[in-house]
């Protein structure tokens, strides 16, 4: 009787120990993985799902990077293969290890017509459907890898110097980046030729960043999630029929927002000082 009690106690103790150590391992492991995937400023291949889903889906096989590097067009004049755009994240690069990404200042995306990197993806992390046009053909212009952003203070075009390197490097010439003409009041007789990026067309390929002449590029690509703001659904363009319809089609209880101020009258809060 006593020995069976002892056996049971031993069994309980070892089971408890295993469960406890597993829980400990699970906490450490989850903590590490959660930190490891928090690398927001990273540019993914064309057609990549939203970062959160991409990290779930990517099986880290590297087929996209291999297709990118070994594509026909990626050869030097002497026939040797050039470095590809896509890199596989290594240890020490502070990105989730084994996931594909690119750095435009190293090698930008050259926006191949046949998009070799996407159809080879076996897991669906690179979504081919998102790159199909109305005719169901692959269309690299639909890619949304990121968005080019101009830093006015370091862009010499904003100083009044003539530079349109980014404008000319853009594969969607005069669409994704246009030049805005403005009078240069400092000289009184020259014009500013200012690059303006259009977020609905820019694919984030990074050719502009690569072409930028300043020491550190004044135009650079950021993930769209970080480069873009959002006005909110309740702002309606009164001059835009489509936008008006968007509001007209909505159910009234979806539009209503209720916050702390809703129960008060304007006289309650309009003349009140800001409270910290």
């Amino acid at each position: 009787m006593k020995s069976s009690n002892n056996n049971r106690r031993k069994f309980m103790a070892t089971t408890l120990q295993s469960v406890g150590l597993t829980a400990l391992g699970g906490l450490l492991w989850s903590g590490y993985c959660d930190e490891a995937k928090a690398s927001p400023l990273v540019l993914r291949p064309p057609g990549a799902l939203k970062e959160k889903d991409f990290l779930k889906a990517c099986i880290k096989c590297g087929l996209c990077a291999e297709a990118c590097r070994n594509r026909e067009s990626n050869k030097n004049r002497d026939g040797t293969q050039r470095e590809g755009t896509l890199k596989m994240a290594k240890g020490g690069e502070h990105k989730l290890i084994g996931t594909p990404y690119f750095i435009p200042t190293d090698v930008p995306c050259y926006m191949c017509d046949d998009i070799p990197c996407v159809p080879v993806c076996p897991s669906g992390a690179l979504d081919m459907k998102s790159l199909l046009n109305e005719k169901e053909e692959l269309d690299i212009n639909r890619a949304k890898m990121g968005l080019a952003v101009v830093h006015k203070e370091s862009c010499v075009a904003f100083w009044g110097l003539q530079c349109d390197a980014c404008y000319r490097a853009c594969p969607l010439l005069d669409e994704a980046i246009t030049l805005e003409y403005q009078k240069n009041d400092r000289t009184g007789k020259h014009a500013f030729l200012l690059p303006v990026v259009h977020s609905d067309i820019c694919t984030g390929c990074g050719l502009c960043e690569k072409a930028c002449i300043t020491e550190k590029p004044a135009i650079f690509v950021l993930p769209r999630e970080y480069a873009m703001g959002k006005a909110g659904d309740h702002y309606v363009k009164g001059w835009d029929k489509k936008d008006q319809q968007r509001v007209g089609n909505r159910k009234i209880d979806e539009i209503e927002t209720h916050n702390e101020r809703s129960d008060q009258t304007p006289t309650d809060y309009l003349n009140r000082e800001i409270e910290y």
Binding site: S30, D34, I59, K60, K90, G91, P122, G124
Partner: protein, 268 residues
Amino acid sequence: MKNIKYLLLRRATQIILMFLYFAANAYGWHILEGTFGSSKLFGLIPLADPYTTLQVLSAGFILGADVLVGALLITLFYMIVGGRAFCSWVCPINMVTDLANWLRRKLKLDKEEVNYRFLKRRTRYWIMVLGLIVSAIVGVAAFEAVSPITIMQRGIIFGFGTGIAVVVAIFLFDLFGVRNGWCGHLCPLGAAYSLIGQKSLIRVKHDHDACTACMECKVVCPENQVLHMINKESISVTDKECTNCGRCIDVCGDDALGFSIRNLKKNS
């Protein structure tokens, strides 16, 4: 030559496979592309690692058909033919841990009682299940985020970066820490392949009549608990943790061990 036949065959297989993966990126060969997570054989047949596939599924993503078919093919191969052969015939970490184990024997570390008993061989099965749970919680394939196997493989194909540290860590752990620590106690991929291949056909068979009980096989075996029949009875090694590496066959001077096909008829 005789006593390293299977060792040479294994090294050749491992190195050729790694070279084919390397050449897919370096020279654009379409023989074996990708990494263990998901590969393409001859630019056509999809192959995928079953445990990695399970992690991605449990992270909450419905994978493309290529990966699912690939995982099925690999599962069927090891289930029917190879057993846990992935570990000793394919995995590049095996070369690292075999080297550590060999040095360990040369340095006679085990005689100096440098072993940590708290680590059990069954730990890997806990880690295997845990990997799926963590994948589900964090929303990312958890073992793939740390796996020394694919870190080493990608290192060979695309360059190591500081990822080489993980490989060195495994080497040091196996050399100075636990004997066969990584492959024999911790690796969840090995655990998954153990479960997949437990009924496979190719097995090492022991011939009790020829055995002289020198126990060389038990010294060299990385999972020596599977050799419980040595000098006892003439049966096949049917434990699921046997990696079919054939080192026991190599070192046996009495022809008491050899590969054979599992006896499918139940012996009463």
